[in-house]
Amino acid sequence: MTSTKINRRSIVKGGAGAAVAVGSKASSVFAAPAVIQETGSTIEVTYWASQSGVNGEAEQELVNMFNESQQDVKVNYQFQGTYEETAQKLTAAIQARQVPEISTLSDVWWFKFYLAGALQPLTEYVNEAKIDTADYFESLWNEGVREGVQYWMPFARSTPLFYYNRDAFAAAGVDESIVGNWDTFVENTEALMVRDGDTVTQYAFGHPDAGSYNAWLFQAVIWSFEGAYSEDDFTITIAQDPGVEAGNFYRSTVADGWAIPVEDHTADFGTGLFAAIMASTGSMGGIRENATFDWGTAFIPEKYTFGCCTGGSGHSILATAEDAKKEAAFKYIAFASSPESTAFWSRRSGYMPVRKSAVESAEMQAFYDENPNALTAVEQLPKTDPQDAARVFIPNGDQIIGGGLEQITVNLVDAAEAFEEVSGILQEEAEPIIEQLADVEG
């Protein structure tokens, strides 16, 4: 027994000693080998993407087209999950120092990586490749520009649209032109309601919840009331008079009984529960498939003025990649937003083309003749403005505002109260960002 005990003890001691010895030696012996690229060989870059389902297939085809068209660069397309999941994985990857060269980043996530210094400035590559930046729609291009340098190239971009049920309008005897202005729309909401005894089977309008980006859609509304979420210097303005008026307008839609808040308003629009909704142009494919009635699209309604924002996602190159790989990565990004590619992507996905020349091309003109609803977002695009800092630059700003809107549409809280609270939270969350921004941009 004694000998067995000693044996076991010595094994344990010896094992611990060996582990320590190996550990300390390994870090000095096994240095990471440098990746050497021979000239003339194909450079491989990794691309992390967030498009799934039908859009994912279209994007895979786009990558294949790029890989087959030349031999210098091979893009490895890797789906990582939703916009949120991709951004979170990218954060972990940066910590673990295993970073892809290209990543898809959504409108509310790219700024966080910019502030952390993780994004590569792209203007140099843009100039070298002699890209015609004037051919991009201004609002789409400029959203990724900080201090004159481009960090976030547009790719899958969308705007909110006003979708309406033409059959329901016809049945109610309501002219379609009333959707141009909130006042005229409100006048006709009673006519657009359908009741079966005491239950309402068709509401005039429907609101989504925070998870379905109601804060993005409301941004257009608050702008049409001549308000805004914030100013460029992060002054929070959502609780000022125009914002409160817009918020109370939302409250009245539910309090007066002609609109209700739901979780998935595009699905309910497709089943005929709502005569009209605001939703992304990216939802058009799904509505086209599910709606059993004739439907149309229009610009976001005006109030005192017209207001509309953009959304979606774009491409960025990560700053940690090697120079040769960054150049190769930019070749793909430039390809993805070239006129031919953006036309292909737009036709397949429902997102808008990011290039003016793509819209004017013969292919797209023919496509729009067959699908007039797809043209609305493109015609609305020149009238759009960059999004407010409070939604896209403050972490979680979108969900904070969305929560306040849920208070208004679900709990019928007065907008002044709801927005006061939202404003307070936004101001708190903005402080570290303003500091970080001062460090980065001076």
Partner: protein, 288 residues
């Protein structure tokens, strides 16, 4: 008179029992039925505001669509590999460690057990980032390539779970000491005792734990999601997330069909393992 009231009591208790069983069957069964029914519906039927328990005309095409929408053969292969290797490792580790904690004497035994208990209280989510950094950065520094997006990275963090060790240790401590002492007197070494005495007597617990482990590994989502970057390495649970549409217009019929692909193998396992579960639950319920 006494007989009559006892009869009523028995009938009353029995009805309560049946009522509880029916309730539980409904709570567990209705969502599964809904999933199966949904997998045969068109998207319009699913989104309609009237509840349709049985689809008007079953759309079997959903299953074909689901299978073709993503590389399911690969997902199945990955899931089976991860579950088989992961569960085997977990069971072996748990059994050996529990044996040591229950039957051996060595310095620091109590300290190790306390650390084990402490590990039980750490939520898995907390370990995600440290593990990721380890497999990426630390492993890269050690051997020159990272282990992100590899099978070993998916399996190793779950290869030893405190829960299994704890469960087995408690069970082994409850085994009759006389049998083990008798084996020792016969000159049996530790491995013989483990193989011939402890394992047969502890079979119910081991099988129960094996089932828990298999189900947990098969259904694991968060860690494989984080550690894999390509579709070829992903198990079923992560793979079906490719079918979701970012814009919210999901083809729920296809997704339900895909979910059935994930659930089906476990149902088969449970059907075969039923005998062991019942054996394990009722072992010791009757004497002799």
């Amino acid at each position: 008179m006494a007989d009559f009231s006892t009869n009523r009591a028995i009938v009353f208790q029995r009805s309560l029992g049946y009522l509880a069983m029916i309730l539980i069957v409904l709570v567990i069964g209705v969502p599964i039925f809904w999933m199966l029914s949904g997998s045969l519906k068109t998207t319009q039927e699913i989104y309609s505001t009237n509840i349709q328990w049985v689809p008007a005309s079953p759309r079997w095409g959903n299953y074909a669509d689901a299978w073709n929408a993503a590389p399911f053969e690969r997902f199945y292969f990955n899931s089976i590999l991860i579950t088989a290797l992961g569960s085997s490792l977990e069971i072996i580790n748990a059994t050996l460690t529990a044996y040591a904690l229950a039957f051996l004497r060595f310095p620091g035994k109590n300290l190790i057990f306390v650390i084990l208990l402490a590990a039980l209280m750490i939520p898995a989510q907390v370990t995600i980032l440290p593990n990721y950094v380890f497999f990426g950065s630390t492993v890269f520094d050690l051997i020159g390539e990272s282990w992100i997006n590899t099978y070993q990275a998916i399996i190793l963090p779950g290869a030893s779970v405190a829960f299994g060790t704890f469960l087995m240790r408690q069970s082994f401590l409850g085994l009759p000491r006389e049998v083990i002492d008798a084996a020792k007197v016969d000159g049996a070494g530790h491995f013989r005792i483990l193989r011939d005495v402890v394992l047969p007597m502890g079979k119910p617990v081991i099988v129960t734990f094996a089932l828990i482990s298999v189900v947990a590994k098969w259904n694991e989502y968060l860690w494989p999601l984080v550690i894999t970057t390509t579709q070829e390495m992903r198990p079923l649970t992560v793979g079906i997330s490719y079918l979701f549409d970012a814009e919210g217009n999901n083809a729920w019929g296809v997704i339900m069909a895909a979910t059935f692909f994930v659930v089906f193998p476990l149902l088969v396992v449970f059907m075969f393992a039923q005998r062991f579960i019942i054996e394990g639950l009722t072992a010791g319920a009757t004497k002799g």
